[in-house]
Amino acid sequence: MKWEVVIGLETHAQLSTKSKMFSGASTAFGAAPNTQACAVDIALPGVLPVANKAAVECAIRFGLAVGGADGLSRRSVFARKNYFYPDLPKGYQISQYELPIVKSGEIPIVSPTRGEIKIRLTRAHLEEDAGKSLHEGFHDFTGIDLNRAGTPLLEIVSEPDMCSADEAVSYARALHALVRWIDICDGNMQEGSFRCDANVSVRRPGEPLGTRREIKNLNSFRFLQQAIEFEAKWQIETLESGGKIEQATVLFDPDTGETRAMRSKEDAHDYRYFPDPDLLPLVISEEWIAKIAESVVAVGTPQVRKNEYIGSYGLSSQDAWQLVKSRETADYFDKVMARLGKHEAKLCANWMNGELASVLNRDSLDITQSRVSSAQLADLLARVRDGTLSNKMAKEVFDAVWAGEGDPDAIIEKRGLKQISDSGELEKFCDQVIAANAKQVEDYRAGKDKAFNSLVGQAMKLSKGKANPQQVSEILKRKLAS
C-alpha cells in the first residue's frame, strides 16, 4: 500500500535591518565576538527592549506580498518564550505567540508532480535570534558570542501542504526568492540568514495526519532535500516494520545524510509564553500599511511579474517562473526586452534560462555579476533574429563576449561570423549537394525524411557553417520537390 508524505516548513529569515530587533546594536555579520552586543543584548539588570520599526516594516512588506492587507494583524503582541540556555541572555526569547503580525498568506510554487500549486502560510511572526555557543577552540569550557543575540528574524510557518522533498525545496526556493525580491532578507544561507525547520510525517492516503518529527536548522536546499527524503523513508520503514513514530526534534547530519533524534516529546520545554509586559501591543495603522504597500507595488513580487510575462509576452509558465527566480534576473530580462522588443521574449527566455543560466552556474556567479550585459545579450539576439547569426554561431559569439572580447557586433566582424543569407550563393551550395548525393536524394524522394537532414548538413558543411540553415532547407525542399 502507498504512503503519503506530509511536510510543513518553519523558516527563519533574518531581516536586513541595520540594528537589532530590540536594541540599537549593529547586526553586521562576522565581527569579533561580543563586539556587537550592547547592554540590552547582554541583558544587564534594568535594561528594556524597544521594537525596531524597520523590522516591523519588513514584516509588513512580507505580509502584503503573501496575502495583502487582509493577512496583516492590525494589533499583534510580543510574547516571552522562557527557557534557560547560555546563549539566551535574558532567559527568554521575545517572539510573537498568540497574535502574530502576519496571520495568513500563500506562496505559489511549481510542483514536479502536481504542477502549479499554492502553499498556505499559517503565520509569520517577528522575533529575536539567540547568540551562539562556541565549542571549538576552547578547552574545557564553552564560549558565548552574543553578537547575533537580538538579531531580527521573521519566522514564516507554512501549513503542511507539501507532499515531497521536491515540493518542500520548491517552496523554500520560492520563499527565498520572495524575501530577497522584497528586500527584507539577504538570503545568505551560509551565514544563516535563511534557514528551515521541516516537520515531516507520513500516513496512508485518507488517514489522519501521522505523528511528526521536526528536523531542525537546515541551511541549504540540498540538505533540506536530503533530510526530508531520509526522514520520510525512515518513518515509512519504521511503520512498515511494525514500529511507532514518537514525536521528536531531530538533527540532520550532512556527513552521513541521516537524521537522528535530539530530544523527545517528554523532555520538550514548557516555554511558559506570556505577553511581554515591557512592550506594548504592536499596532499598525492603515496609513502605515498603505505607505508600505506603495513600495511593495513598485518592486512587485515574483508572482505578479511572472503573470505579466505569461500575459503580455506569451511565455510559458515554466519559462516565466525561471525568469522571476530573483528580482535581478527579472530586471535583466526586462532590460533585454526593452532593447530588443517584446516579440523576441521567447528567444530571450531560451537564452537566459539556457546558455546564460548555465555559465552563471558554472562560474558560481549571480546575474548581477554576469559578464554578458543585458545590452550585449540584446544585441546578440538581434543578430540571431535578423538572420546574421545561426544559433550555433551565436553561442560562439556569446562565449567570446563572456570572455571579454568585446561587443557582439565587433566580434562578428572580427571573426567573420556573418551567416550567408545571399540566396544566389546558397542555391549554388544546394545544387552541388544534390548533384553529389544522388542516393540521398532518391531516399528522400522515396519518403525517407532522415535523408533530408543529411543533405542540409552537407550544404552547411560546404558553407563552413555560415549558411542560414533555415534558408538552406527551404531551398533544398523547393529544388527536390521539382
Binding site: 534594568g46 528594556l48 522562557n82 547560555p86 532567559g91 527568554y92 511558559r272 509564553y273
Partner: protein, 486 residues
C-alpha cells in the same frame, strides 16, 4: 541642616549659606554614625558623593544651578548607577558594578543632585518589611525593633532619620507608600509610565514604577520635576508635555470631593491606624472638603491577583540571573544544569525563590488560563472600579497600610500575613493609578501612620497640592525619631 527640606536646602545653597560639599559631608558623617544602627544603606561612597557635590558647587558658581543642584538624594539600590555597586539587595548581584545609569539617575545627575548612597531594600523589591535583603534587615528609626516597611525601607528610614532630605524608591505593590507610612514620611508612586523604568531593575514590569520619597509633598513635587519625563528606551514610558508638579502647591482644597472607599474602612486595619486616618479626613473637612462614600468591589481580589501577576512577571524577569554573564556564579558544579541550579539556589533568598516558583507555576502549561488570564481579567475590573469611583470624587483617601510598623521577624515566616500588609496599596498598582502616602499621626506606641491618597491618571500635581495643604495644617512630618535629632 539635616532637618531641612529640599526646598529650604535649595534656598540656603542658593544663598551660599553653605556649599553642597559641606552639606554632603555633614550627611555622610551622620550616615557613618547612624547607619550601623538602622542599616539604611548598602553602599556609601564618600569620595564619589563628594565629587558630585563639588561638581554641583561648580555648576552653581557658573550660574547654572537648578532646584536639585547640590541636594543629596539617596538611591534605592534597585537603580543602576554607573560605577556604583548595584545589588538590588541580593547576593546574586553582590558584585555587580553597573556600567550604566538608569534614566532616573541620569535625570538626577543632570540636575546636579548628589547620590548620597545606595539604600537597602527587600531582595529584588520582594517584601513589605525590608527584611529579605542579603545585607540584613533595615530597622525603623522610630523603634529599632520594628521594620521600616518595604521594599524601599532603606530609603524611607534614611529620610526619616535625617540622613538624606529625599530618596528615590520603586513601588510595585506599595513599596514606596507602605514604607513611607511605616516610617513617617511622604512617598509618591506616579501614574504607570510617568517615570522611566530604564535602568530600574525589574521585579514586575507591568506594575513597577519609580517615585520620590521625602518629608514633604512639596519636596516630592520638586523631585518629580526632575524624575518624570518621556524616555524612548522604555516602551511603556508615556510621551506627554513636561509638567510642573509644583503647580498646585499652595492651591486651596475647598470644595474638593474626597472619596472614601468603604472597603478601605471595613475591617482589618488597626485601631491606631483608623483613628489617625479618620482624624486626617476630619482635618480635610475642616479645610472645606466634602467626603463621599465610594466602593471598590473588586478590591478583595486585588491581593490574590497581584500574587499571580507579579510573580509571573518576576519569574521571567529574574531568569537572566543565571551565572553566565555577570553576578554570582556557584563555585563547583558538574554541568550546565547543575551550574544554573546551584547559582540560583545560592544567589537568591527564600522570598525571591518562593515568588519565582509561584510565577513559574501560574505560567505553566495547563495553569496559565486559570491563573494568569483570569488575573488579567480581574485586573481590568479593579481599574474599572476606580474609574467608576472617580466619577463621584476627585481623589480617594484611606489608610496606606492596615498596620503600623510591625516587629522584625513578626511576619517574615508567614507570607500571607506579610502580603496582606499591602492590601490598600496594591489596587493602585493594578490600575496604574498614582498613589501617595502622607504622615497623619502616630498610634499608641508612637509609631507613625500614613494617609493614602489615590488620584486619577496624571493627577500627581493635584494630589501633591492636596497633601501640601494638609501638611501646612499639621506637623506630623516635622517630628523627629528619638536619637535622630543630631
Amino acid at each position: 541642616m539635616h532637618n531641612a527640606t529640599i526646598k529650604s536646602l535649595a534656598a540656603d545653597l542658593a544663598a551660599r549659606k553653605f556649599s553642597s560639599v559641606e552639606l554632603t559631608r555633614h550627611l555622610l558623617s551622620r550616615i557613618r554614625a547612624l547607619n550601623p544602627k538602622y542599616n539604611c544603606f548598602i553602599t556609601v561612597d564618600d569620595a564619589a558623593s563628594l565629587k558630585q557635590a563639588q561638581a554641583a558647587d561648580d555648576l552653581r558658581a557658573a550660574g547654572r544651578a537648578g532646584p536639585l543642584t547640590g541636594i543629596p538624594i539617596a538611591q534605592k539600590d534597585i537603580f543602576c548607577a554607573k560605577g556604583w555597586l548595584t545589588t538590588c539587595g541580593s547576593k546574586m548581584l553582590s558584585s555587580f558594578i553597573s556600567p550604566y545609569d538608569a534614566h532616573v539617575v541620569e535625570q538626577l545627575n543632570g540636575a546636579g543632585a548628589v547620590n548620597i548612597g545606595k539604600t537597602n531594600m527587600d531582595e529584588f523589591a520582594m517584601g513589605s518589611s525590608s527584611e529579605t535583603s542579603f545585607y540584613g534587615p533595615v530597622r525603623n528609626p522610630w523603634n529599632a525593633d520594628n521594620v521600616p516597611g518595604g521594599s524601599s525601607g532603606g530609603s524611607a528610614a534614611a529620610v526619616v532619620a535625617r540622613l538624606a532630605p529625599g530618596a528615590i524608591g520603586t513601588d510595585t505593590g506599595g513599596s514606596i507608600r507602605q514604607p513611607a507610612a511605616l516610617s513617617g514620611i511622604c512617598g509618591l508612586k506616579p501614574t504607570y509610565g510617568v517615570v522611566s523604568r530604564y535602568g530600574m531593575i525589574a521585579f514586575a514590569s507591568s506594575l513597577d514604577q519609580g517615585g520620590p520619597m521625602a518629608r514633604t509633598a512639596e519636596d516630592l513635587a520638586i523631585m518629580m520635576n526632575v524624575m518624570a519625563g518621556f524616555d524612548a528606551r522604555d516602551s511603556t514610558s508615556l510621551e506627554r508635555a513636561r509638567e510642573d508638579y509644583t503647580g498646585e502647591i499652595g492651591k486651596a482644597v475647598k470644595g474638593l470631593k474626597i472619596g472614601l472607599p468603604k472597603e478601605f474602612f471595613a475591617e482589618g486595619a488597626e485601631a491606631g491606624v483608623t483613628g489617625a486616618v479618620a482624624a486626617a479626613i476630619s482635618a480635610y473637612r475642616k479645610l472645606g472638603c466634602e467626603t463621599v462614600e465610594v466602593s471598590l468591589p473588586s478590591m478583595k481580589l486585588a491581593v490574590p491577583v497581584y500574587y499571580v501577576l507579579a510573580p509571573a512577571e518576576a519569574s521571567s524577569n529574574l531568569a537572566r540571573y543565571d551565572g553566565v554573564r555577570y553576578g554570582h556564579r556557584a563555585q563547583d558544579y558538574a554541568d550546565l544544569t547543575d551550574m544554573y541550579k546551584l547559582t540560583r539556589a545560592q544567589g537568591f533568598g527564600q522570598e525571591v525563590k518562593r515568588r519565582i516558583l509561584i510565577g513559574t507555576y501560574v505560567l505553566s502549561h495547563g495553569y496559565y488560563d486559570a491563573y494568569y488570564i483570569q488575573a488579567q481579567k480581574v485586573r481590568r475590573l479593579v481599574a474599572r472600579d476606580f474609574a467608576e469611583a472617580f466619577r463621584r470624587c476627585d481623589v480617594i483617601m484611606g489608610p496606606t497600610s492596615p498596620t503600623t510598623a510591625f516587629r522584625l521577624g513578626e511576619k517574615v515566616d508567614d507570607p500571607v500575613k506579610m502580603y496582606l500588609n499591602d492590601i490598600y496599596t496594591i489596587p493602585a498598582n493594578l490600575a496604574g493609578l498614582p498613589g501617595m502616602s502622607v504622615p497623619c499621626g502616630f498610634d499608641g506606641s508612637g509609631l507613625p501612620v500614613g494617609l493614602q491618597i489615590v488620584g486619577n491618571y496624571f493627577a500627581e500635581a493635584k494630589m501633591l497640592g492636596i497633601a501640601h495643604q494638609y501638611q501646612q495644617a499639621t506637623d506630623w512630618h516635622l517630628r523627629v525619631p528619638p536619637g535622630c535629632e543630631g
